[in-house]
């Protein structure tokens, strides 16, 4: 047992460069993938609605509109697939320990995604593209809808998997196999965290796709072409987008409440709340700055500027205006009044859990079955699992401060996402009003705004994932496994090479994709 002898040297042997490059690679590939996914999620439904209008009205114009957006859908979809395959396999290639430690739970959604969703999507996408005139109108329409359901169903499973990383439920640790094992599939699938995350993420995709359609249509109107296509597309997209944005706001609120409950540290970090308080205010706009006497970038504990809504953070977290919201300091150093354990205490409990696991192994090796059975029993004793094993992951941390995520990243990504989200709702309403008054062509400012909002939707969407993943740090699975203990046993230079290969390849493909997309928009519908 060389591991426990010298606690002072803890973590010195973990190759942090490997951890950082592995994280960088996952972030790079995930963010590239996420450029394309939200558009697929939303545009598939918008196209299905347009084709339904074609089948119902029988007007060729709707068919022309449907086919035009399908071309753009196809261009985006191909690169989405290209950037997606790597993510599934990266759990194994770069996060080998993760794959074993939680693979018993995490693998299932990925497999179900393949069996139930990907085949649905890829089979019917072939009919959607190549089936015009080969299958009946009705069969074609059903295929288009199945593509939309298939792509959103695949989102469900991967988001269930991600929600589980934030809020691990429905499993039990098996000390013999040194991994967590699923004990309740429905707890994993239907956890409120997963439900909110799913709704919030897909509706964010719907809003993004709506603004994509509206922005491109706006460009046609500014260029004085394709009036019929542009206005019809705008109407479908604006209605779909506005309905989605209502769901987006509600599920966002639901997600915040879930985070407050299961990831209080992330919650405190994205509001920059260091000292917990009752009736905590919500910062709508803020600029972080270093506190007096502090210089380190990580410790920006003060605000150069902030606009607050009193008591609103307490309400957002717990539905009560006077509720206590714990701050970063409460969560790091403990707050006995509020029954909050310090990280230091959690670290020592995590170490006890780890030592028990090591003792179990020793007893097994020495065939000492009495000791083995005694320790094994502990792992099914709720007293031990809830008070000690629960903090297993903390046993890997070196200091209380290492349990705090990067506050500026969490703060800004959250606020950028939320502010832009409300702006999108406003824009969608203005577009609908202009369409209703039949004056949208004349409102050139609004049209230009719609075009420039397209990149903003991508920024908002990426910010959401930055908050989710960076805000969870140092954990890869909340409280259970820190990111640094999840990596593969590999030299960091290998990961560096693949990082740059991905960076170059994906950038090259993105350039091709954007140029093809812009050209197709310029060419317009056939």
């Amino acid at each position: 047992m060389n591991n426990c002898q010298n606690p002072d040297n803890m973590l010195e042997n973990i190759d942090l460069s490997l951890v950082n490059w592995s994280r960088a690679q996952f972030a790079l590939t995930a963010m590239y993938h996420w450029i394309f996914v939200p558009l697929t999620l939303g545009l598939s439904f918008i196209i299905a609605i347009m084709e339904s209008l074609y089948v119902r009205t029988g007007r060729e114009e709707w068919k022309r509109i449907t086919k035009f957006w399908m071309i753009l859908f196809g261009i985006n979809f191909a690169i989405g697939v290209a950037t997606g395959i790597i993510l599934e396999f990266e759990f194994g290639t770069n996060w080998s320990n993760y794959s074993w430690f939680v693979g018993d739970i995490f693998g299932a959604p990925l497999a179900i995604e393949g069996i139930l969703a990907f085949f649905l999507e890829s089979t019917f996408i072939a009919i959607m593209f190549f089936g015009w005139g080969k299958v009946s109108k009705r069969a074609h329409l059903i295929s288009t809808w199945l593509v939309a359901f298939g792509s959103n169903l695949s989102a469900l499973w991967i988001l269930v998997a991600n929600a589980w990383m934030q809020n691990p439920v429905g499993m039990r640790f098996n000390p013999d196999t040194a991994r967590n094992e699923m004990v309740n599939f429905w707890d994993v699938l239907l956890s409120p965290f997963a439900v909110n995350k799913f709704l919030h993420t897909i509706t964010s995709g719907y809003v993004l796709a709506s603004i994509f359609v509206i922005g491109i249509s706006a460009w046609y109107l500014l260029k004085n072409r394709e009036h019929s296509l542009a206005k019809r597309s705008m109407l479908v997209a604006a209605v779909f987008g506005l309905i989605s944005s209502v769901m987006l706001i509600f599920s966002g609120d639901g997600s915040a409440k879930q985070i407050a409950r299961v990831q209080p540290m992330k919650f405190a970090a994205f509001e920059g709340l260091y000292e917990g308080e009752e009736g905590a205010p919500l910062i709508t706009i803020g600029v972080l700055s270093a506190a007096p006497g502090e210089t380190e970038a990580q410790n920006v504990k003060d605000f150069a500027l902030k606009i607050e809504i009193p008591n609103f953070l307490s309400y957002m977290a717990f539905g009560k205006f006077d509720a206590f919201v714990p701050g970063i300091n409460d969560l790091t150093y403990g707050n006995p009044e509020r029954n909050i354990l310090s990280v230091e205490e959690k670290i020592s409990r995590g170490k006890i859990a780890r030592e028990s696991l090591a003792q179990l192994k020793d007893a097994r090796d020495q065939q000492d079955m009495t000791t083995y059975n005694r320790i094994k029993e502990k792992f099914s004793d709720p007293e031990f699992t809830d008070s000690y094993f629960k903090y297993f992951g903390y046993g890997f941390l070196s200091s209380p401060e290492s349990a705090v995520p990067n506050v500026p990243v969490a703060f800004y990504s959250f606020h950028i996402m939320v502010l832009l989200g409300f702006y999108f709702v406003l824009l969608l309403m203005l577009i609908l009003v202009a369409l209703y008054r039949n004056g949208i062509e004349k409102n050139r400012f609004l049209l230009r705004m719609a075009i420039w909002t397209i990149p903003l939707t991508y920024i908002a969407s990426q910010s959401g994932w930055v908050l989710t993943e960076m805000g969870r740090q140092p954990w890869v699975i909340q409280d259970m496994l820190p990111t640094m203990a999840a990596v593969s046993h590999i030299n960091s230079s290998s990961v560096q090479i693949t990082f740059f290969l991905f960076a170059v390849l994906f950038t090259v493909l993105l350039i091709a994709e954007l140029r093809i997309m812009f050209r197709q928009i310029k060419i317009g519908p056939k």
């Binding site: 074993w100 693998g107 497999a111 995604e113 139930l116 350039i511």
Partner: protein, 385 residues
């Protein structure tokens, strides 16, 4: 229903599902094989367009099967996922790069402003078809020849170095290419997918010039295929294998292990032999009969049966399917590397959907293949690669 199954039965059931997905994947890689023949069979832009479009309507099916194969392997045998993918890093990364290149190539190949020109995307397709298939074959070859890795669950209690699965070769999986048997399997997969690609085009293309060239090419690929495939089969059957004692779980070398497995499981031997016969039947019938287009289905079914039996041979009858030559006792078996019984039961219910999936794939295939791909067909289609 699945709750009544024993743990070991579920492990066998899931090994069969993973094996079936692997077998279907090799069959569907006719798309990859075909991609290496675009310039062999198509001498001008129009001919190449026909070939690319005929293959392109199926690429996503193969791709999805690969992704599902990975997902199902992860869900049912996570220790393989963490050990092999995290260990043989460069082999798997190379395979994935090949498939990333493929995913955009059909859609972008003929689109205006694609920046790099059609040839670039055709080269991407060639790389995917050649390197992708060979590497997958080489990687599966290690199921019989072993790799250098160790697995120790207790590492998780070591704060300094908590990784459970460790690869022991600095070549990170590329060392598999130094083994003759692995290379023979890699080349066999490559040539077999080319044969399947040719048969698919014969089945699905309406163009006499391409068909005539395809037939010639079929013979030219079949001879080298037999020259690498038959030695692989012989080497496999005479080689020492990795056996497991079912009571103690100890892994040991056993002479003629895979031959013993075939003899011990007659249904499997039947699959193995009938697979080979069907593969050859499809080829020979196509070569000898004029206007015969259905060879694809025989050779395809034969490929599926043979690869299915090959995977079962690696995992059934107390065999370590992912053996470690570095530390025998680290070898992965279907019982020491699987998910928990609960997860396997839950996943087994999901597997009941597989027949529905196959049914709608068959429906879509038939709906789209009613009309063969030709220059005229492409003119009337609104979506062309």
């Amino acid at each position: 229903m699945f709750e009544t199954f024993s743990y070991i039965t579920l492990q066998h059931y899931w090994w069969a599902i993973v094996s079936l997905l692997g077998a279907l994947l090799v069959f569907l890689m006719f798309v990859q094989g075909g991609q290496t023949l675009i310039y062999t069979l198509g001498r001008n832009e129009s001919e190449r367009g026909i070939i690319v479009n005929a293959l392109g309507r199926k690429w996503e099916l193969t791709f999805t099967t690969l992704v599902t194969f990975g997902g199902a392997f992860f869900a049912s045998f996570p220790l393989f996922y963490s050990t092999s993918f995290g260990g043989a890093y460069w082999v798997w990364m190379s395979i994935l790069f090949c498939f990333i290149l493929q995913a955009v190539s059909y859609e972008y190949r003929s689109k205006p402003a694609n920046t790099f020109g059609p040839l670039t995307f055709e080269i991407f397709l060639f790389i995917n078809g050649a390197l992708g298939t060979i590497l997958i074959g080489v990687a599966v070859g290690t199921f019989f020849t072993g790799s250098a890795f160790s697995v120790d669950f207790n590492n998780i209690t070591n704060v300094n170095d908590p990784v459970i699965s460790r690869w022991q070769s600095q070549y990170r999986g590329l060392e598999a290419a130094f083994n003759v048997q692995n290379v023979l399997l890699g080349l066999s997969v490559f040539l077999l997918t080319r044969i399947l690609g040719i048969l698919y085009l014969i089945n699905n293309v309406d163009n006499d010039i391409i068909l005539a060239r395809a037939k010639k090419s079929l013979l030219r690929n079949t001879i080298p295929f037999l020259l690498v495939f038959l030695p692989f089969v012989v080497l496999l059957l005479i080689s020492e294998g990795f056996a497991v004692n079912p009571d103690s779980g100890m892994v040991f070398y056993e002479s003629f292990k895979y031959l013993h497995n075939l003899l011990a499981m007659p249904p499997l031997a039947l699959l193995f032999v009938s697979g080979i016969i069907l593969v050859l039947f499809g080829i020979i019938k196509t070569l000898r009969t004029t206007n015969y287009f259905k060879g694809f289905w025989f050779t395809g079914a034969g490929t599926t049966l043979f690869v299915f039996s090959l995977f079962l041979l690696a995992g059934y009858n107390n065999t370590a399917y992912y053996p470690s030559s570095f530390d025998l006792q680290s070898s992965l078996t279907i019982s020491n590397s699987s998910s928990s019984q609960y997860t396997l039961v839950a996943m087994s219910y999901v597997s009941l959907f597989v027949p529905f999936v196959i049914a709608y794939i068959v429906y879509a295939w038939r709906a789209l293949n009613r009309e063969k791909v030709s220059a005229e067909e492409l003119k009337t289609n609104s979506h062309v690669y």
